[in-house]
C-alpha cells in the first residue's frame, strides 16, 4: 500500500504514459463508459416519454393506473407494487456488492452464493415487470369521461402472440 500512496501523491505525472492515468484496468474503464452510454440510452427513452406526456392536455394519474398488485384482485393499492420492485432492486444491488467483495477475497463459494441471490432478484424483478405490462395491456383501460377517470373493460382481449404460440406448438408436435 506504500506504493499506492506514493503514486496517488501529487509529484507523479500521470499522463506521461506507461500507466493508466485513471489507475484502472481496461475492462473497468470500459464498463464505466458503457454505463454512461447506457444512462443516456435509458435517459432518451424516459425523456421521450416526458415529451409525449408534456404534449398532452390530459394524462391518466399513474397512482390510479398502477394501483394493482398480483393476486390482490381489484384492490386499490397505489404505489405498493412499485415499492416492492424498488426494494427488490436495492436488495439485488446489495447482493451484487457482496459477491464482488467475496471475489476480492478469492472466496468462490461466497461469490456463487451471492451471485445466485442476485440472479434470483433479477428474475423476480423481470417477472414483476412482465406481470405489470401484461396487466396494463389486458387489464382495465382507464379513460377520461366528463373529466373523470373511468375503467372501461380492457385495452384488448386478444393475445397478439396467441397464434404464434399455437403455430409453434403445432410445429413441435
Amino acid at each position: 500500500m506504500d506504493q499506492s500512496t506514493a503514486l496517488s501523491s501529487k509529484g507523479i505525472n500521470w499522463w506521461s504514459g506507461g500507466k493508466s492515468p485513471f489507475n484502472l484496468e481496461y475492462g473497468k474503464l470500459m464498463m464505466w463508459f458503457f454505463l454512461v452510454s447506457d444512462a443516456f440510452t435509458f435517459g432518451g427513452f424516459l425523456i421521450s416519454y416526458g415529451t409525449v406526456r408534456f404534449s398532452q392536455n390530459y394524462w391518466p394519474d399513474p397512482s390510479v393506473v398502477f394501483n394493482a398488485f398480483p393476486f390482490a384482485g381489484h384492490a386499490n393499492l397505489p404505489l405498493a407494487f412499485v415499492s416492492v420492485m424498488t426494494f427488490v432492486l436495492i436488495l439485488s444491488s446489495v447482493t451484487m456488492v457482496l459477491a464482488v467483495h467475496a471475489g476480492h477475497n478469492r472466496n468462490q463459494k461466497e461469490v456463487e452464493k451471492w451471485l445466485i441471490w442476485t440472479i434470483i432478484g433479477g428474475l423476480f424483478f423481470l417477472g414483476c415487470q412482465a406481470w405489470e405490462w401484461h396487466h396494463l395491456y389486458f387489464g382495465d383501460l382507464p379513460v377520461v369521461r366528463n373529466g373523470h377517470i373511468e375503467l372501461i373493460g380492457q385495452a384488448t382481449n386478444i393475445n397478439p402472440w396467441e397464434n404464434w404460440f399455437k403455430a409453434k406448438r403445432w410445429q413441435m408436435r
Partner: protein
Amino acid sequence: MEQASVISPEITFEHHQDTPSFKKRVIKTTIILSVITLIELALGFTIYLLHKGTTPPSYSLVLFFKGVICILTMLKAYYIVSVFMHLGDELKRFIIAIILPMLLFVWFIIAFLWDGSSYRDLNNTYNKYFYETTTPGKQTVEKAVPLEPVGKQ
C-alpha cells in the same frame, strides 16, 4: 498488491477493505437507501391523498413534494454509484470524467420537455378539435366508446 500487479503492472490503486468495515459500510448504505425509499413512498402517498380530496390540491405544494422526491432520488443514486458501484473510491479525475457528461441531462431534460410543452400549446391554439377532445371538462362527446377488439376471429 501482488495480485494486482499480475493483472496489469500499472494498476496500483487498490481499494480493498477488510471484511468487517466493508460489511458495516454496506449495511449502513442499505439502511440509508431503505429509509430514503420509505420517505419517498410516504411523500408519494401524500400526493395521492392530496389528489383524492374534493378540492384540487395546491399546485405549488404538489410541485414541492415532487421536487423533494427528485432530490431524494438523486441522493439514492449518489449512494448506489458511490458506494455500491465503488465510483467514490476511484481517482477524482475519473469521477469527473464519468459525472461531467451526465450534465448533458440538464440540457436534455429542459429542451425536450420544453419541446413537448410547446407542441401542446401550438395544438391548443391552432387545433380546436385537439383542445376540446383532450381537455377534461371540455368534451362535447357524452359517452366514451370502448375500443373494438382488434383481430378477433
